[in-house]
Symmetry: C2
Subunit: 358 residues, 2 copies
């Protein structure tokens, strides 16, 4: 049985769901000859580690307890009653994470899994790359802030996977990598790649106020913890067109205030834009186009009957044009948001790197 | 630089295209730290091997010459003039293939690539599995004849890839594997999975005779060497509905006779079925449905406006329903036939197993 040691950063919605998937897939993975050995879990403040990272693991009962504690909004430090693990707090937890990476990275290997939505993990990730760890990301931020961070994380291209940073669990990155590695040059990509914005755009079409739709999206786990990460367009690529004005920026207004009062001020404007588009037989879609060195992200009016216009709910669509997919593109479509499918994508990534473990 | 030794069986359209892709991707792959070392190439009669399979390779100039010879319909034995390689004929070639697998399989590893369309490779493949070789298939036959062959070839699931056996280079198998390994149970698959039959069905809609459409399809490389492999439905799954009658079966009629006279006898019948469907606003599509243990393959009349009805050319569509893709399926669509995309899928498979090589 091959054992893959794993350290999870972030146990919000996606991280919790990943732990649940790992536990419920035990026999499936055993049939494949693989065991995912969770040696540690951390949130923004604390780290919980197996008592011996070389031989022990946080067992399934404990992982379920982690999920329960985090679901109740508590800190991992509340788990202190269990005696099979060690708990580290604050700066000590960060040091210990690096220690574990150094111990396991080059001996047994270690899958470093980032399911947080934080840009603060970038520093740790940059360091563990050189310690021989593999990196699996659901967190987009480390790859989308500074190019030197991206390059650093991609130092060993076989040791990084990040399928769930685009279109949740949809096989977008895996498919693009296949195309590129087979020498088939991609010359154009067009898509609706934010499950959240896809959901929001198709729901406001039916006449629901923006504020209500965003709150529902958040409760369904379709948005980042701060929904403005989605609404600003930053979550798709570069900031081209934001759905909210400057005075509602995160440094001016809290998430709670934004959801309680800020977003309601946007309802009428969005309603009007939807109506105007509808009179022309169109719908609004938040679309991303990459062609050559050009990348555009923003709201486009598209015919109701087009592939993008027919999109419903949180579905994503991606069209890839290349030499092999020239006149007709390669199309990948499906749910592009939700903790279940995002965590499933992370789990598939972890299994995809299994051959790198001894 | 990681070196992946490779032995190619079959140098018809797909195999030739694969060799061309390998040669033209040299610098791309070098940038990724990978070199594909072609140690041998065989057709149904001969085997050409590098003079020392541990250290040498058939160089790019030689591989281009292989393509030229095969494009001209000649046997590999015509390559005897080159002195960096050894040539084996007939039964000796089969023995030598096993020898090479035994030599390289457990030392450097060997990717055994089957781009033939023959069921005769199954015996060799079954043997090299136990010799530590990896297997990459564009050839469907070894996986779709006897269940015990399938099980044998899947003895080591990480060591086999066969993306191009379904939908040419479309990321169908890779995506399905990701879904299944993440514990997301698939409960329904529906698709139009024969690029050939997709092309044939959408071309006869325009009023062209079946016989003409099939010949064009063959010349475009969309069909198996014997187009009846496609037309019988066998190429999709089980034989449910064949496009030709028993008296045109391969054991009764040669490929040449079928293309010259047999297939013309089917033109009128197909034309009539197309017209009848059209009067009802429908088109004919060759569709495969898998649900639970049920598998149906055959011609269905579908609305012109449905996703399957809107399919054009040799595009394939696959809809996968699972827990994560429940109300709305995961959809994968694109070119499902053609030597270029099929060979690209094989090449992506070879690179996908690179971590298994030392």
């Amino acid at each position: 049985m091959k054992s893959i040691p794993l350290l999870l950063m972030g146990c919000g919605g996606v991280g919790r769901q990943l732990l649940q998937h790992i536990v419920s897939c035990r026999s499936l993975h055993a049939n494949q000859g693989v065991h995912l050995r969770v040696v540690g879990v951390c949130d923004s403040k604390s780290l919980v580690v197996a008592s011996d990272v070389f031989t022990r693991e946080l067992n399934d009962k404990f992982l379920v307890e982690v999920c329960r504690v985090k679901l109740n909004g508590l800190s991992l430090s509340k788990l202190a009653d269990f005696d099979e693990c060690l708990i580290y707090l604050n700066s000590e937890s960060k040091r210990k994470v690096i220690d574990i990476a150094a111990l396991l990275g080059k001996s047994t290997g270690l899958a470093f899994v980032d399911c947080s939505a934080s840009s603060e993990t970038t520093g740790v990730l940059n360091r563990v790359v050189d310690l021989g760890c593999c990196i699996v990301l659901a967190n987009k931020k480390p790859l989308t802030s500074r190019l030197e961070d991206y390059d650093k994380l991609y130092s060993y291209p076989r040791r990084i996977r990040h399928e769930s940073t685009v279109g949740a669990g949809l096989p977008v990155i895996a498919s693009l990598n296949r195309i590129l590695l087979s020498g088939d040059p991609v010359h154009r990509i067009i898509g609706s790649l934010s499950g959240t914005l896809g959901y929001v755009m198709s729901e406001v079409e039916g006449g629901k106020p923006l504020s209500e739709v965003v709150k529902t999206a958040k409760s369904l786990g379709f948005t980042e913890p701060d929904p403005r990460d989605d609404l600003s367009g930053m979550d798709v690529a570069r900031k081209i067109e934001s759905l909210y004005p400057d005075e509602m920026e995160p440094d001016v207004m809290s998430v709670e205030e934004f959801l309680a009062t800020g977003i309601k001020l946007l309802d009428n404007d969005v309603e009007e834009r939807v109506k105007k588009a509808s009179l022309r037989g169109n719908v609004l879609r938040y679309v991303c186009v990459i062609e050559g060195s050009r990348c555009e992200v923003g709201i486009q009016e598209l015919p109701k009957t087009s592939a993008l216009g027919r999109l419903k709910g949180s579905d994503n669509v991606l069209e890839i044009y290349s030499r092999c997919y020239n006149e007709q593109p390669l199309v990948i479509q499906g749910a592009g948001a939700g903790n279940d499918t995002t965590a499933a994508g992370v789990l598939a990534d972890i299994l995809d790197i299994q051959d790198l473990f001894p």
